[in-house]
Amino acid sequence: MELPAQTTMGRHHRVLMVSDFFYPNFGGVENHIYYLSQCLLQRGHKVVVVTHAYGTRSGVRYMTNGLKVYYIPWLPFFMQNTLPTFYGTFPLIRNILIREGITIVHGHQAFSTLCHEALLHARTMGNKVVFTDHSLYGFADLGSIHMNKVLQFTLADVQQAICVSHTSKENTVLRSNLPSQKVFVIPNAVDTAMFKPDPSLRPSDQVVIVVISRLVYRKGADLLVEVIPAVCKRFPNVYFIVGGDGPKRVRLEEMREKHSLQDRVEMLGAVPHARVRSILVRGHIFLNSSLTEAFCIAILEAASCGLLTVSTRVGGVPEVLPLDMIVLAEPVPADMVSAVGRAIQLLPSINPFEMHKRMKTLYSWMDVAKRTEVVYDHAVNSDSNDLCERLTRLVYLMYYACGPWAGKLFCLVAVIDYIFALFLQWWQPAELVEVAPDFPVQ
């Protein structure tokens, strides 16, 4: 275990992670925030997480190593997102920023309304702001257009941004008109200690292909419906294990019935994350058929368990694994079937333990934390936050980049936020807000 070493520039930051997505909800963003926070805590920084209340879980909770989590009592209204009231969360966020003595606010996920609001308020309060984008989004449909506008507004004022792959960086820069020098690329990582290979659990007479994903359109469930029967027909010794649930599960069940594949395709339903490893180690090959992916952590987990991956060549997937650990194909059924064929031929040359050892050196959360620290140091050293200078920059950026109407509207929002900050200073002066004590890291 690493001792809490001095950072490269010797400074310890006090970071506030903000997102609508955190435990007890499970997913990529949630894991990212948790593991990153734990590694930063071990490196000597202070980390506090803010998210919305989940059911009756509201208030302050402490997680491992003294990670403080604020479940603020604003309930989600749509797809895990808090109701966007623009200024509603300002008093509470301001209170939290003052009592914890926060220097940097780190927002996660463009789809999170709490994140956008918190970043706006943090800038008004004078804190430095970093934003991490975890997904790829489109440009053409109505929802994406609106979200990109909001993103332009939030990112107009951000110090640094982080993306999880180069493809994701391109996507974010195009959507938000952010200068690319401000965007860092820090890939996600995987907890290799939890995902260890166990070849003894694999059958020796069959080739087992594992699929674990949400069965939705985005994750290519329709592709699976075409690919599975074709592969079963061409390779008689192949056995499929499909884990996960979603709206497209019905189609997969239908496919199974239609081609009488009940004894060759096993449907497991929703799999809790703790059980994913036990299912992965039963397989030889991991099949990922996503239609869009910024960075696929599922592939990392599979590679860490010693499985060979077959995946669609979309988004950031080609950047994830070295080419001898992955077989790529176009998101077309015929190409994917031939890719599976190539993978089956490659199987004898794969050593699961070698793969696991390589993954340990390639990806680690401590490495992600060190690189994030560099981003924080850059953010802290960046330009000042004089109000006039900030407003001038905002006016220029927003008027020219966002368009005439949206630009004016966003400037108005920023100015009203500042007036609200002055009102809050009168109503509840910053000097009277108590500073919360820090708890030592175990």
């Binding site: 208030g59 302050v60 603020i72 509603g88 009592r99 108590e434």
Partner: protein
Amino acid sequence: METEEKPVLNGEKHVVDYPRYTYECEGHIQALASVHRIIVKQRKGRFFKIFWLTLMLCSFLLIFNSIFVSQVINGLECIFLLSTLIVRMFQKNEVTEEAVILMPMLGVQLETSYHSGKVMRRFLPMQKILAAVINEAVTPTTCYFYLALLVREKSELTLVFQEVRPPLDVLISIWKALNDATNFQPNYPASIG
């Protein structure tokens, strides 16, 4: 930041000043009791602000209601009366002082005194109290520390201070005193302070 751990002797008061409250701590060795008081400081300008806000609100309402333009003078008198009534209503429910009286052998008494002269008292026998805890409360607009007691056969925490929100140092010293009181063993010599 630690408060001084001076032994509090008979009848001696230990007073600490905070921006919003005054904290007084008294100890009585013979009665084996100690009293912790939180006195809310009277801020002169406070009701004036509420008064002015009500006044402005009512005058805006009146201006929009142009039917009564001719009766503006009477209207102003009504506004004045209304504002005074609202101010008096706020004042009556205002808390002037909250106190905790610790009697290690008997129990704990919690007092709340209002501006109207009314005093509300609650007594908790010592056997019923399991422990004292300091917790953080998060509301939609703010976040603060509070002191509460775990009471037997009750699923909810009993708040020690209903209205006032003293700073963390005060809560910690009262918590320590409560802890000593709940763990008090009659066979051992009394240790005060």
